[in-house]
């Protein structure tokens, strides 16, 4: 396809996405798609580490949670203005990622996984215990939606909030696409493929991984801020290990190493949670079905669902 054709197709897709709240047949679906977009942005940010840099993190909820709490605190106590609360949340997540990253990226493989998990659980304990600030297990409620500063545009209306989330998602996705297609993105792929060789070429791979960690954490923080304002509520669950694991499942089921994959994974996971959890026969067992789907994709589709969409099934991985 010509590049002009691709651009036109992209513009058409974005237009359809942004206007979904207008043509959606049911209002309920608007909320579902908001959740898919927020989870999709979160999963894409994690995939920068997992799929591009080859760093499997079990602590990505730390930055989602820091973004969520920071947004809630700033919006409640400082200003709900979108120009203050959203950058505030992103900055808080970036700083958390920098501090945790300095210690974590020196390790690799299982040690990186355990370190990120440990740091995230420390933050979870903090969210749980620092009651005057975080509200402890009650969390923080009455979190305002951001104020975009345009008179007559009220984000407390779901259809308006949808457009806001969709715009942040599109901008975030384009920014992440620019990152993975940049020289830096190629260098991250080099680290994933052969870190020792990258060092021999003269790359300071520790710094590359730290930058990737901070970029990923920042976008996770933005996703967390969107979640806090969508739910108008933050709780320690946003920092808990299950939030990290769910994001990892989205990345792996959808297809690591692509940006469309994690979004597809988020769509699948949110759909299962939304539509299956209500079925009387399924109920809480939807997670079992998700687990089965996860096992099947790991076994039969090494590039995830996006790999099936693009090129069919593969045989189980050989060691």
């Amino acid at each position: 396809m010509s590049s002009l054709g691709r651009i036109l197709l992209g513009v058409a897709f974005v237009a359809l996405l942004l206007s979904f709240a207008r043509w959606s047949p049911e209002r309920f679906w608007v909320s579902v798609v908001i959740q898919m977009l927020i989870s999709g942005l979160f999963a894409m940010s994690l995939d920068l580490l997992v799929g591009y840099a080859g760093l499997a993190s079990l602590g990505h909820a730390a930055f989602f949670g820091v973004g969520a709490y920071a947004f809630a605190l700033v919006a409640k106590h400082v200003s709900p203005s979108v120009a203050v609360a959203l950058p505030g949340a992103a900055l808080a997540a970036a700083i958390a990622a920098l501090v945790i990253g300095v210690f974590s990226v020196r390790a690799s493989g299982i040690f990186f996984l355990m370190l990120t998990l440990a740091f995230a659980q420390m933050l979870h304990a903090l969210a749980f215990g620092w009651i005057p600030v975080t509200g402890g297990s009650d969390g923080l409620s009455s979190v305002p939606r951001p104020d975009v500063g345009v008179s007559g545009v009220n984000l407390f209306l779901t259809s308006n909030f949808y457009v806001f989330v969709a715009v942040v998602f599109v901008v975030g996705a384009l920014a992440l696409r620019a990152v993975v297609n940049s020289r830096f993105g190629l260098a991250l792929a080099g680290v994933r493929e052969n870190e020792r060789r990258m060092r021999a070429l003269g790359y300071d791979t520790t710094r590359l991984k730290l930058v990737a960690f901070v970029v990923a954490g920042t976008f996770a923080g933005i996703a967390g801020a969107l979640q806090a304002s969508f739910d108008q509520f933050v709780s320690p669950g946003d920092v808990f290990v299950t939030t990290s694991v769910t994001a990892l499942v989205m990345v792996l089921v959808g297809g690591a190493g692509t940006l469309a994959g994690p979004v597809l994974g988020a769509i699948v996971v949110v759909s299962l949670r939304t539509f299956l959890a209500d079925q009387p026969l399924v109920g809480a067992r939807w997670e079992t079905l998700l687990g089965a789907l996860f096992v099947l994709t790991v076994l039969f589709a090494r590039h995830g669902l996006i790999g099936i969409v693009r090129g069919g099934l593969s045989w189980p991985r050989s060691p």
């Binding site: 190629l186 792929a189 060092r199 021999a200 003269g202």
Partner: protein, 243 residues
């Protein structure tokens, strides 16, 4: 000023002295072969020179700068590149991307787009080592092509000193002849240090030869003189057919 000066270098592994006081001086533009029987310490020497292993004692100077125990990436920035004995490529990346990564390092890594000039420069280097299609993934290349790609990656960094660790290992005679020819056409100002088992290759390429034996320098000199050295014949060349 020597391109590479090694003084009294030692490396012990437990009770084993892999290197036991090695002193070498390699001039800029020189092509030096390091030979010796298995276990002589050649690979240990290379690992220390490329910064992947710390010596137990002694020093390494690169263009008169003390670089002993500097990390690999910093040595690479000072102009030292290594072609590995085992291929060390980015398997899932294309041949072109493998070379681009080496080219981009000197231009700094940032969020700028990858531009066409870099891709064109990579294609040039690939053509020079005899790889026509840069779009093939590294893991899909034959053994010989991987070695050629290794060389292209090393050259892309524009090194002043190139360490070649058995560049013809595992190659067919035709591939060996080709890569030897290729190495011989490298710019003369580039200093080469070659570890190699194939004596034809050594005598074809090297200006000087250093013979290691049990972690020490046994002989050091022009190929003809080393070949004639009785001790060298005894420990190493005895089994080789020497014309």
């Amino acid at each position: 000023m020597a391109a590479l000066a090694v003084t009294d270098l030692a490396r012990r592994f437990g009770g084993v002295r892999a290197l036991d006081g090695v002193t070498l001086s390699i001039e800029p533009g020189e092509r030096r072969a390091v030979i010796g029987p298995n276990g002589a310490g050649k690979t240990t020497l290379f690992n220390i020179l490329s910064g992947e292993m710390r010596p137990s004692g002694g020093s390494v100077r690169l263009f008169d700068v003390d670089v002993t125990a500097e990390p690999t990436w910093r040595l690479a920035r000072r102009g030292l590149a290594r072609v590995y004995q085992r291929t060390e490529l980015f398997a899932e990346l294309t041949a072109s991307e493998n070379v681009e990564l080496a080219l981009l390092r000197s231009g700094g890594v940032w969020f700028g787009r990858r531009d066409v000039r870099i891709t064109a420069r990579a294609a040039e280097l690939l053509a020079r080592v005899g790889i026509a299609d840069g779009r093939a993934r590294a893991r899909a290349l034959s053994h010989g092509e991987r070695r050629q790609l290794e060389l292209a990656v090393a050259l892309a960094a524009g090194p002043r000193v190139l360490l070649l660790d058995e560049p013809t290992a595992g190659m067919s005679p035709i591939e060996t002849a080709r890569i030897t020819e290729l190495i011989s056409t490298l710019p003369r100002e580039m200093t080469l240090v070659i570890v190699e088992h194939d004596m034809d290759v050594v005598f074809r390429l090297a200006d000087r030869v250093t013979v290691l034996h049990q972690g020490r320098v046994l002989a050091d000199g022009e190929p003809r003189a080393v070949r004639a050295d009785a001790r060298v014949r005894e420990v190493y060349l005895g089994h080789e057919a020497i014309a």
